[in-house]
Symmetry: C2
Subunit: 680 residues, 2 copies
């Protein structure tokens, strides 16, 4: 009988041995130069190599190792993330990474929800955007040097998207020139802000301003929460962590209550609204700048939808080449899972989507840059379209990426359920993107209202010219047109693909508008009529957003062609674009069939062409995920390792499980031993 | 400055105060007697009260508390689950719960993946099913008294659904009359079996039997893994935990390797195949009994799909009545979320589905009982249909329940992401149901093959009578029929609803069969032709399964009507059945439109009727989830508490977060303090 305290590991356990032969073969068979596609994705060779230097620096640094997270308690994970924060600051100093872009690249390479994310992403930008020049001069140097750590507290226990419903109150006391912050109810408790629970010393708090019993709306206030000496909460402040979440273990999302906490008058961020010493309140001029910040954040979110989905697909495609199951014929070796049609049908449209979203992210960033340039000349004309479009794209991309990660996980069979696959964490960490920076459903309503308004205008005033992406709303004759893609070949025509998406979107907008009228004719006022079409409004917003994504993918390929991109790269991108276009018609086929735009004359070649595209992508699948160029550190997955030594990695990582520290697990002596045979 | 070590909690924090007024109002307005529906769901008043006694006993027992799991490390959770195992055994003795049903009820009430789940659910049944009488006499008393704890090890690191691909080998040594178990490769490592890692002393191991270099197929062997004295692994055995998973923290899913481990000849379970002392191998007679066990497990899984989805819907519906957001009109109070059409459209179809699956579970259990009765008279005629049907239903119900839980979570906004909502754990613990007991996709292939075979037979031999659920495959004339539901009212006709589902299923089977022929005409052999239609086969299996679910729901209501169930209950069940039927037509609308079965003449009234049904269910929504009769313990959710004191509960539970034990979190001194302002 063995009494060794360590398991007897198999000698084959070598994660760094020769690469998996199937992956080597797959890589050798790619139809295009992978490296060129990588350059294309990351904006050129120089930028790619810069990102690689940072990624490799992080990947080789033991402080930034990620796989230990699987085995740590929540508290240990939080502590480890603070260690990473300190090291991040050290590296910035050591390597002179003083530009915002360098720091962002570094954070992205660290690839964890660090408790300074809100400090950098919300606290500092809010001071910049809403603080007066003096306030910026006072707080920005402190914040940028991390001499204070801040966060952003808007959401409350009982209040989310409806900002005017916030209950936290800031009452102006003229006698002392102070605001008195208070949380009058339980539901007024600030709840969810990242890094609020334990890390932050300061916070921008959104509260209802009250001056002499007069309600002046919700405004931002700078509040110190914790002592800079000993980190204890200040008097009147109750602050803590809101407890475990689906993921985000490293982040101390927090709660915060005020018991008549006094702050000086100049702690209200007064770039727009102001309160004078005597309590005079001046209303803010309408600020369009805050919309720009929103669009900037959404562009970032759309880019992340692409990269996160790309990670999931990378893991699933590589593992599906390594994993084998069922021989095609009795006696033959088992087949690579990726050879199965249903596996291809699950993964390749997501691969295509990751590329599609990449180009959508580029498009929105470009739109944003153009807007910022125009804004300097007081040109706000593109704002409504940009605001509405980015809202819809944020929703569509985050929904599809969320569901897509789960599809990838499920496609990995049993091992996808192991955290060591990386996929459960990828999913659980990603899904809040559907809620933050604007709940997806609320975002869809915004876009749908915009589309309905323009459609109404165009109907009322024929000949009106609408801006780029929405110009199809002008032409209600489009509704009478039918698809003419009656062969597989015709379905590869981008003009026909776009025609289908435009037609679907217009049809849904028109139906929605008609239903709105019908509901009002039944006696509802407009408010109630809108309530009755809300489900349709979500469909409208998605349909328009699909069109925008496809349009950008098609345009991006045209531009690449014009700028001399090589044929093999253009060919594979065109195949992905085709699959994106056709897959999402197939997925919502009812929309296209319902009013006769398509019939089985068109859908049969559509289905056949999709099968053909899956076959076309198969030989390039590994190369297409390799082109995303993720390090093993970035993937954090035993199934997705670049060398394909999947089972060796899974086995080795599992040995780190704390339950494996001893042969006999905790609890045996108290709970199991008493009833086992030996005690009879 | 405060230096208190405990947060200053608001006085309003009282989880046991008066119930939420909105929930009280909702409950008062139900159109039907909730208690009667509860009796109907759980099989009568007596059975309901019995289950309630057990549920309440568990809910009030501190050992069985569930909410501490949110705050424990994996090791602590495993330890706690062993504590529950011991207590479970104590309660069985104390309350004389000696029947299998009583013990099952108790385990279900404890509602956790205990490390004896496999012992009870797989180890003992395998001894019963595959052991000889002597083997049963030897091991069953020990197992039933927990003097040994066993599990079931089939899956390997590199091998899942394809059993013949298993690599673990059992070589017969005639000289000693022993089998020598060995794991020749890394991928041969047993991987995933529950309770294998740390808990089990014994295991039924599936291994390739080799006698004198002759391969004799995969067989089950009884192997002792750990000493009954000190729980150390026996010589030659490497065993441990496979590490963290998406959930299942309480379960020590394990790995297991053999290094030439010898077991006596009579440790092969020999009810069917046998190895004589001299090494003579006798092949097993075909056993249909194992199919019956499979169907039994699937019936259980389908029932669990219903109850798990019901829990998620209970949480989401209650919270959506408590939670308010956005006033309908400026100045009005904010609205209950459940009043929003899109929220109803998300949740009510799932509510209807939970009821639908309940009746499907009943149906499969009944089918199973009939089969077992027939089997005693050597009547195996229903086996093929039962086997295929249950495979499809297992897949459909687990897929829909999985996605449905996530829909419920997302519908709870930000708080749905908190583990305290109960929904992340519910989801992550549930989803393996899509993989275990037959991977859903593989199950769909099985059903599709069965349907294609019968369809082929019916085509070849007109007039052939096919069994109940598949009899529609006889009538290819059904393909020429069209929907005539051109009004909202007509869509409520169950015959028309069923006609639509049958027509869709037949259409997909026929298309699939035609494509198979077409692929073969292109020169593929049958094996490759089947590969080319695999995506369509999954659609076929789902379409048939939807039909079976609806058919059973319709039949169940008819039977209830015939047996005198009260009108209010029948009315609300009919509304749920209608919503189930119409929602899943709307969800797959393309299938019904593609070949002209429906057109917009029918879909417009369809959409309108769905909106009407959502409105009809709204006033009964809380009563319909209350009828599932879950205790707060069973739900384990701050958002789903019966008294609706959601925010109080969320706040109180969050205080237990280990990070809140001290005001200043671990890591502050080492990692944050050094760079904060005070140190300048």
């Amino acid at each position: 009988m063995s009494s060794s305290s360590k398991p007897n590991l198999p000698v084959t356990n070598a994660v760094n041995g020769p690469p998996n032969a199937d992956l080597v073969r797959e890589r050798g068979a790619a139809s295009f130069p992978v490296r060129d596609l990588t350059y294309l994705v990351y904006g050129g060779q120089e930028r790619t190599e810069h990102l690689e230097r940072i990624a490799n620096m992080v990947a080789s640094d033991p402080v930034f190792r990620k796989t230990d997270r699987f085995f740590l308690s929540r508290t240990e994970q939080y502590r480890r993330s603070l260690e990473k924060v300190r090291h991040y600051k050290e590296l910035i100093a050591k390597h002179n990474l003083h530009s915002e872009l360098d720091q962002q690249d570094l954070r992205q390479a660290i690839d964890e929800d660090l408790p300074i994310g809100l400090h950098v992403g919300m606290f500092i930008p809010t001071i910049v955007g809403q603080g007066t020049d003096e306030q910026q001069k006072k707080w920005l140097p402190l914040a940028r040097a991390y001499k204070i750590i801040g966060t952003y507290a808007q959401t409350e226990l009982g209040h989310g998207s409806f900002i005017r419903g916030l209950e936290t109150v800031a009452t102006y006391d003229k006698s002392t020139q102070e605001f008195v912050l208070n949380s009058p109810t339980l539901t007024a408790t600030k709840w969810w802000p990242g890094a609020l629970g334990k890390t932050s010393t300061h916070c921008v708090v959104f509260a209802r301003l009250v001056i002499s019993d007069r309600e002046c709306g919700v405004h931002p206030f700078m509040v110190q929460l914790r002592s800079l000496e000993n980190h204890e909460p200040l008097k009147g402040i109750t602050v803590g962590d809101i407890g475990p979440k689906f993921a985000y273990e490293t982040m101390d999302n927090g709660f915060l209550r005020f018991d008549h906490v006094r702050i000086p008058r100049d702690h209200m961020l007064m770039r727009f609204a102001q309160v004078a010493a005597d309590g005079t309140y001046s209303t803010p001029p309408h600020s369009k700048v805050s919309y720009a910040t929103m669009v900037f954040m959404r562009a970032y979110i759309i880019g992340t939808a692409s990269s996160t989905l790309a990670k999931a697909v990378t893991i699933a495609v590589r593992y599906s080449c390594v994993r084998k199951q069922f021989p095609l014929r009795s006696g033959e070796p088992e087949q690579q899972i990726l050879n199965y049609q249903n596996q291809q049908a699950a993964l390749f449209p997501l691969l295509a989507t990751a590329y599609a979203f990449h180009f959508t992210g580029n498009y929105i960033r470009q739109m944003y840059s153009d807007f910022v340039r125009g804004m300097r000349a007081q040109d706000f004309s593109v704002l409504p379209e940009m605001h509405a479009t980015s809202a819809g794209l944020k929703s569509l991309t985050t929904w599809i990426a969320s569901a897509g990660i789960e599809t990838c996980r499920a496609s990995c069979g049993g091992h996808g359920y192991s955290k060591l696959s990386g996929l459960p964490s990828l999913y659980a960490n990603y899904i809040p993107a559907c809620t933050y920076e604007g709940d997806n459903t609320v975002m869809c309503f915004q876009l749908a209202r915009y589309l309905l308004k323009l459609y109404g205008k165009a109907q009322a005033k024929p000949g009106l010219r609408l801006p780029g992406n929405v110009s199809y709303l002008e032409k209600s004759t489009l509704l009478d047109e039918r698809c003419d893609a009656s062969t597989e070949e015709l379905w590869l025509d981008p003009a026909r693909q776009l025609h289908a998406y435009r037609n679907r979107a217009l049809r849904l907008v028109a139906n929605c508008a008609n239903r709105l009228v019908a509901e009002m004719q039944k006696g509802k006022d407009e408010v109630l009529a809108v309530e009755a079409i809300k489900s349709d409004m979500v469909k409208v917003a998605k349909a328009h957003s699909y069109y925008v994504v496809l349009n950008n993918f098609v345009n991006a390929i045209e531009q690449l062609r014009a700028s001399g991109t090589s044929t093999p790269i253009l060919r594979v991108l065109k195949t992905l674009c085709d699959l994106f276009a056709l897959h999402f018609i197939q997925a919502d086929l009812g929309d296209f069939l319902e009013y006769g735009y398509l019939s089985s004359l068109h859908t049969e070649p559509l289905h056949a062409q999709i099968r053909r595209l899956l076959e076309a992508i198969r030989p390039d699948a590994v190369a297409l995920v390799d082109a995303f160029n993720f390090t093993d550190h970035a993937l954090g997955s035993a199934l997705g390792v670049h060398n394909g030594r999947v089972y060796e990695t899974l086995f080795e990582w599992a040995q780190q499980e704390p339950l494996n520290k001893t042969q006999v697990a905790p609890g045996y002596h108290e709970y199991i031993k008493p009833f086992l045979l030996a005690k009879m």
